[in-house]
């Protein structure tokens, strides 16, 4: 059940982010200045953390989404859904760790 909660929460989070994200991207039509100003704020540490959270949400939602799809289509997956939950978290960790290193590096180290 917890995976269902995770999936819901991340889904909603991504949705609202996407609303904002499209709006800010739309600024490229207004003027490069405006766009860069907004994007500039993405590069502050606080926003950096938010963004990291977002990526985490997307990754989790994505892999869990794949698990749900698998479970719906194959009996094997259905019977091993618990292991698949683990797989989701493992995959998530595998991708998240290097990303965090790099991303936070960019955000804080300004490399």
């Amino acid at each position: 059940m917890w995976m269902w909660v995770v999936h819901r929460v991340t889904g909603v989070a991504i949705f609202f982010f996407l609303l904002v994200h499209v709006l800010d991207t739309a600024l490229v039509r207004v003027s490069p200045e405006a766009y860069n100003e907004v994007i500039g704020s993405y590069k502050t540490p606080i926003y950096g953390l938010v963004e990291a959270g977002l990526v985490a949400a997307i990754l989790l939602h994505a892999f869990n989404g794949l698990r749900i799809i698998a479970v719906d289509h194959s009996t094997w997956a259905l019977r091993h859904q618990k292991q698949l939950v683990w797989a989701v978290w493992v995959l998530f960790a595998i991708l998240m760790v290097p990303f965090l290193v790099r991303h936070l590096g960019h955000v804080f180290g300004g490399a």
Partner: protein
């Protein structure tokens, strides 16, 4: 849901990877970066499908959520309405942006632009 899901995986992960992992990560993102990307039709289409799919998928997901949690019928109607407006609005807005994008708006400080690209296009 089932169809848009896997496609989105590919689309969004690549998107994120390119934007945040390659090169300079978040720091590289600016007007010039976007302009550079959208110069290639591949990325235009890429982002467009991503947008449409994500909004349809997310919109549908939100619809389910509203169904689950909105108790009173009028509330449900209201939220569904708002959701519809948001989804359609965003898709329209997003597509407009992508298609009418002008990488080298006149009168902008060239510092901000993707100079090579604009030169190539003969706009500078």
């Amino acid at each position: 849901m089932r169809l848009s899901g896997p496609l989105l995986v590919v689309l969004i992960l690549t998107h994120l990877f390119i934007n945040l992992m390659t090169g300079d990560g978040v720091n590289q993102i600016d007007f010039a970066f976007v302009a550079g990307k959208w110069a290639a039709p591949l990325w235009k289409i890429w982002d467009l499908t991503m947008l449409v799919l994500a909004m349809l998928h997310g919109g549908n997901g939100m619809r389910l959520l509203i169904n689950d949690y909105a108790q009173r019928p009028w509330m449900k109607k209201l939220l569904h309405g708002a959701l519809g407006v948001a989804v359609i609005g965003i898709i329209v807005l997003g597509s407009l942006v992508i298609f009418t994008f002008d990488p080298c708006p006149t009168g902008t400080d060239p510092e901000l632009l993707n100079i090579e690209l604009c030169k190539e296009l003969g706009r500078l």
